[in-house]
């Protein structure tokens, strides 16, 4: 197994370490800036993979309602249900591997970045011994050691509470953007689990790891939030300044999660005098909520596909209904 470690060091870890030192030298000796710049560069290089992952994830989410219907339909025949699910996925050109494979490919890079940061922030003599065998003799990196561990208010070698919180919050935002607000109860529960698990886990990790890593995580997460926004929009994130809109999913999206099928449901449309009452199957609800651009659909007053014919407007009835709900 030792040879795997050697190959890893040779091909991935040592280059990243040396590049970080060089970057730090070019960026007025700021290791914090070097971490941020390398994170940005790596994320840009990974953009095609990230894009693919985001799209695949979104496609999977869009299909959840149909899958739920299939499951319901073939509740007693699991084999058939599985076959139907596979058929659905095949028809839509969606594969679970599409979500996971890019994530798997990216993991080694994140791990290498992580290991580099933690090694370069070594404070004990043993850390210097380790570093001495990783530096390229043909690069002017030896004299850059030790790197300046001060960045903004941080000592990058020590944990920082604020950065831990920032990591947790930024990860929550990113995770929230990936959640499917119109998911069925099962999916919603799973989404909730993922929504809180990652931010909490990484937030706690940051409480005992060098804050240089937190800089890396926060930078990386912010980049992914931006990428995600341009790729799939705000997703499940509710922004107050957006009038409660979550890509057109309405402020009561959360309440709507786990709704029983075939019920009447009021979507928010504060700029209209009419409520949009949807009588639909969960699959239809799902599609509406996960529509390519839900808010645009509302504004245009119905650009949904022909399968959503049960949408009707009730003039004047919306306000009172909303008041009742409140």
């Amino acid at each position: 197994m030792e040879w795997i470690g050697s190959i890893w060091d040779l091909i991935i870890l040592n280059p990243v370490i040396n590049i970080l030192i060089m970057l730090s030298d070019y960026l007025v000796g700021s290791f914090g800036l070097a971490i941020m710049v390398l994170t940005v560069v790596v994320n840009l290089l990974m953009y095609p993979l990230t894009q693919r992952q985001l799209k695949a994830t979104k496609a999977m989410q869009a299909m959840q309602a149909e899958i739920a219907e299939v499951r319901k339909k073939y509740a007693k025949d699991k084999q058939k249900a599985a076959q139907e699910q596979m058929r659905l996925m095949k028809e839509s050109g969606v594969s679970p591997a599409g979500c996971l494979l890019p994530m798997l490919v990216q993991m080694p890079v994140w791990i290498a970045l992580y290991q580099s940061v933690i090694r370069l922030l070594a404070t004990a003599p043993e850390g210097f011994m380790d570093l001495s065998q990783r530096l390229y003799t043909s690069w002017p990196v030896f004299s850059q050691i030790p790197l300046n561990s001060h960045f903004l208010w941080l000592n990058l070698a020590n944990p920082d509470m604020f950065m831990a919180i920032l990591v947790g919050v930024s990860m929550w935002v990113q995770q929230k953007m990936t959640t499917n607000p119109g998911a069925d109860p099962q999916q919603a529960a799973q989404g909730q689990m993922m929504l809180w698990m990652m931010p909490l886990m990484f937030g706690f990790l940051c409480l005992s790891l060098p804050s240089g890593l937190a800089v890396y995580w926060v930078t990386s997460t912010i980049i992914r939030i931006i990428m995600q926004y341009f790729s799939t929009g705000w997703g499940g994130l509710t922004l107050p300044f957006r009038g409660g809109g979550t890509s057109g999913k309405g402020p009561d999206t959360k309440k709507n999660q786990g709704r029983v099928p075939k019920q009447k449901r009021t979507l928010s449309a504060d700029d209209t005098s009419a409520d949009i009452v949807i009588e639909s199957s969960p699959a239809q609800e799902e599609r509406i909520e996960d529509g390519e651009s839900g808010s645009e659909s509302e504004d245009s007053g119905g650009s949904y596909s022909t399968s959503y014919q049960s949408i009707r407007r009730k003039a004047g009835g919306g306000r009172s209904r909303r008041n009742k709900r409140r």
């Binding site: 999977m60 679970p96 979500c99 996971l100 994530m103 798997l104 993991m107 994140w110 791990i111 992580y114 290991q115 933690i118 090694r119 922030l121 070594a122 404070t123 004990a124 003599p125 043993e126 850390g127 210097f128 011994m129 380790d130 001495s132 065998q133 530096l135 003799t137 030896f142 004299s143 050691i145 030790p146 944990p159 109860p185 099962q186 999916q187 529960a189 799973q190 689990m193 993922m194 698990m197 990652m198 886990m201 706690f204 990790l205 409480l207 005992s208 790891l209």
Partner: protein, 379 residues
């Protein structure tokens, strides 16, 4: 009651990946920080048939050099482990010791990674130190380099950018001087001048009377090495991978020699040649007059442990545990023994023998001529 919800395969896989990610982060992180966690690698001294060293358990240890019997093992102090959530720190509360114990008359003194200096009586050695500096708290930074003794005073540097001079009798501070960055270097003294390197890439000559700076010399890298003074020349190395020779009185550069890695260990000077071990795995033999390389020995593993001269044999240890005997008259070198343990600590010379403190916290006695070894347990 809600039904127990089944988790979909995609979420299961995603969950597994995330968990794997966390584990992978935690484990290599731990192994990475293991290199950064201070464990200590103290050398030592042999005096009156007794070996003094600092163990990785944070103890000052004395051993009978004749029979290898442990005389006493004194914990310097215990401290709270600095562990946090999911910390890689081990449960031990031992203080790491990098500073090699040294003898100051009846005292044996050692500095701790916790930023304190401990002085124990040698004649009536017991668990309590005769004095500790500072009495409360610590000097404000770790003590990595060793302490040196000269004319009744102890001198040392610390990672809080300071150099201290203490009265050896009672441990009271004579003076302290603040430098721009950390001081890991062990000082060297010649006449009334103290030579010491600093992380700010400068090498300083200080007045031993009050710590005032006589001269300074700037290099291109941090300086952690221990200087060696020979005649009117002071030798030291820098993280710019160069070995420097300066005029000890004025600080002017005589020559510098560059290698492929850091000269971490303290070199040995003999008969117009400086034997400089390097982390590139070689021991360079350089002419002290002009800085030209006479020859080098490739030991194929980094040499971070300071070598010692025993008669006409320079004994050096590589990090991978091989002990070499180099004939300083120029007839070559041979491997004396392979201890098969990592070696970082400076070697200890005493009565034709070499004592090697390994990373498994074992002391090995090696005969400098035959390579015969004996294991001494210091735990």
């Amino acid at each position: 009651m809600h039904k127990l919800k089944k988790i979909r395969p995609v979420y299961k896989i995603a969950f597994l990946i995330l968990t794997l990610f966390a584990v992978v982060i935690a484990l290599p992180g731990c192994s990475a920080t293991r290199g950064a966690v201070a464990r200590g690698w103290a050398g030592g001294v042999v005096e009156d048939g007794v070996i003094y060293t600092g163990s990785m358990e944070g103890n000052l240890v004395s051993v009978n050099a004749t029979d290898g019997r442990l005389i006493i093992s004194i914990p310097l102090e215990t401290q709270e482990p600095s562990s946090g959530f999911l910390s890689c720190a081990q449960g031990s509360s031992a203080i790491a010791i990098y500073s090699s114990p040294m003898i100051a008359d009846d005292l044996v003194c050692v500095g701790g990674y916790n930023g304190k200096v401990y002085a124990f009586s040698r004649s009536e050695i017991r668990q309590e130190p005769r004095w500790v500096y500072p009495r409360q708290d610590n000097v404000g930074g770790s003590i990595i380099g060793s302490i040196i003794y000269n004319n009744g005073k102890l001198y040392f540097g610390s990672a809080n950018n300071r150099v201290f001079a203490l009265d050896a009798t009672d441990g009271y501070k004579e003076w302290e001087i603040e430098l721009p960055d950390k001081v890991w270097s062990t000082p060297a003294i010649m006449n009334d001048t103290l030579y010491i390197g600093c992380f700010d890439k400068k090498f300083y000559a200080l007045d031993t009377a009050d710590g005032s700076i006589k001269w300074e010399f700037e290099t291109e890298g941090a300086i952690v090495s221990t200087p060696v003074v020979d005649g009117n020349t002071v030798y030291f190395s820098s993280f710019d991978r160069s070995l420097y020779a300066l005029n000890a009185a004025t600080g002017s550069l005589k020559w510098k020699y560059s290698a492929d890695n850091w000269f971490w260990a303290t070199p040995v000077i003999y008969n117009g040649a400086i034997f400089a071990p390097c982390l590139d795995g070689k021991i360079y033999i350089i002419d002290t007059a002009n800085g030209k390389k006479k020859s080098d020995y490739d030991l194929e593993s980094p040499v971070s442990s300071s070598p010692v001269l025993i008669d006409d044999v320079l004994v050096a240890a590589t990090q991978d545990g091989v002990i070499y005997g180099i004939d300083i008259t120029g007839t070559g070198y041979k491997d004396l023994v392979n201890l098969e343990e990592m070696i970082f600590a400076p070697l200890i010379a005493g009565d034709g023998k070499v004592y090697v403190h390994t990373n498994l916290d074992t002391l090995h006695e090696v005969d400098a001529k035959t390579g015969a070894k004996r294991e001494i347990y210091i735990k």
